[in-house]
């Protein structure tokens, strides 16, 4: 039987791996973009990024000082007796001290910082149940520089595909140099206002080299990515060939009278991690086993 302490320790390990090392799909794309870049200024930015990726791994140190707020996606087996929520919360507290993570979570009005990344509804946990024997926990350590550039638009159905493209272009241009480009863009289409924003963030959980299984959505992902990379914003907004590393879309059916579209912006340090906790206590880190 897995205990709450097992969960806690698994979360500390998950957070450590997540803030130290990028998923393979992201790192591969960054290195490829560096190789393709010819101008001196963006090449220097890419060199710093790649050097930093290596230094972080070597020193087992968080790659970016903004270790974000911790957004969790948990899938529980149908029978689960252990208090996973408490394990996650205490895991975040422990990881903040031990990894260490930057204490980022503050009260939104008083701005008081408790110093442990734990507060009202934070860490934030999304729950699902499935027919499986293990507990799966995915985390996104989401920085504010990119998150602050995120947008929601409640379009009218008549705005259609053009409206969606227009919104995407305007959002990326408005974000410009701010979100630590080259970015990854998560887009939500449909649902309702809240569902759409959630989809945009969940889109960031899919590897950027995997297209959506719906061919229409896949086509839009590719078209938007290729187009945005013609903007020339470049790494850190200092110009260059690569403005965006990837663009993923998730959709949901929506009301016949509405067309919500949302963008969640992610920086180049697009950190995500997953741990599977088996009944015998065995841990698997599918994103970081490489």
């Amino acid at each position: 039987m897995v205990t709450e302490v097992d969960i806690q320790n698994a979360i500390v390990e998950l957070l450590r791996k997540t803030v130290v090392k990028l998923p393979a799909d992201i790192e591969r794309r960054i290195r490829q973009a560096y190789a393709e870049e010819t101008d001196e200024v963006p090449r220097m930015q890419f060199k710093a990024i790649v050097d930093n990726i290596e230094l972080a791994e070597k020193g087992n140190t968080p790659m970016c000082q903004d270790t974000g707020v911790t957004i969790f996606y948990v899938t529980l087996p149908r029978e689960c007796k252990v208090n996973v929520e408490k394990g996650i919360v205490e895991g975040v507290r422990k990881a903040t001290k031990e990894v260490p993570l930057r204490p980022n979570a503050v009260h939104p009005l008083t701005r008081k910082n408790p110093g442990d990344n734990v507060g009202e509804r934070m860490p934030y946990i999304n729950w699902k149940v499935a027919d499986q024997d293990y507990i799966e926990v995915t985390v996104m350590t989401k920085g504010a520089g990119s998150e602050n550039m995120s947008q929601l638009a409640m379009l009218t159905p008549s705005a259609g595909l053009k409206g969606i493209k227009e919104f995407a272009l305007n959002t990326v241009m408005r974000a410009g140099s701010n979100p630590c480009p080259p970015t990854v863009i998560g887009m939500g289409i449909g649902g309702s206002a809240d569902i759409c924003m959630k989809l945009a963030k969940e889109a960031l959980l899919r590897p950027i080299d995997q297209r959506h299984k719906d061919p229409e959505i896949a086509k839009l992902e590719t078209e938007l990515l290729e187009s945005m990379n013609m903007l020339g914003i470049g790494p850190m907004g200092l110009g260059g060939k690569t403005t965006m590393l990837g663009l993923n879309i998730e959709y949901a059916y929506c009301h016949t009278a509405s067309l919500p579209v949302a963008i969640n912006v992610q920086c180049w340090a697009a950190r995500r991690g997953t741990v599977r906790i088996y009944p015998d206590g065995k841990l698997e880190f599918p994103i970081h086993e490489r």
Partner: protein, 202 residues
């Protein structure tokens, strides 16, 4: 590399700042103070009330940074210290430059026209350091001599850091009104037309 690499040492005089040109790469030595949202708010409030602030920003390098710090014994050590998004300080920076006269601001993403104008008027430069590259940046910080306003929280406090060969830093806004970000924006606006054509937008 066709541009000379320069070293810059704090305190940065007005003439030091004015000698730098947009596009140059430099490395910084000396004292660096971190300061972001809350430091700007509190420092300006103190100034309005005629109260002293705990550090002297004149000729200083102000780093838009909320680092991860770790206490080892009774000493603070830097774990990771990359830049934060400078544009959040757009509304306060012109006043901050006027009142406190830093010689350089280090950050990422650039700043808006009123700050560019203040930099030109008072002789200050904006040095861009790669966002997210926080371990690389921390390598250029040799020690931490102290912390002020710690009650604002670790990311928002004023950390007093000693830099040695801190960089590479790109002079992205110089004290003559030139901005690499503005140059890129002009190009992006031109490129926007091509992007619109490709997407079938007007």
């Amino acid at each position: 590399m066709n541009k000379m690499q320069k070293r810059l040492k704090t305190p940065i005089s007005e003439s030091d700042a004015r000698a730098l040109k947009a596009g140059e790469t430099i490395y910084l030595d000396g004292v660096v103070y971190t300061g972001r949202d809350e430091v700007h708010i509190h420092a300006l409030e103190h100034f309005e009330k005629g109260q002293k602030i705990p550090v002297d920003f004149r000729g200083a390098a102000l780093f838009h940074c909320g680092p991860i710090m770790k206490k080892v014994g009774d000493k603070w050590e830097v774990v990771a210290a990359g830049p934060t998004t400078s544009s959040r300080m757009n509304s306060l920076e012109p006043q901050f430059i006027e009142k406190f006269r830093p010689g350089a601001i280090i950050g990422k993403g650039g700043m808006s026209q009123p700050t560019i104008d203040a930099m030109k008027t008072f002789g200050c430069v904006y040095l861009a350091i790669t966002g997210g590259a926080a371990v690389l940046a921390a390598k250029g910080i040799k020690s931490v001599s102290g912390v002020e306003w710690f009650e604002l929280g670790m990311p928002e406090a004023i950390w007093i850091m000693n830099a040695d060969n801190f960089g590479p830093l790109t002079v992205a806004i110089d004290a003559h009104g030139n901005s690499l970000f503005a140059d890129v924006n002009t190009k992006v606006k031109e490129n926007e037309q091509k992007v619109r054509a490709k997407l079938g937008l007007k």
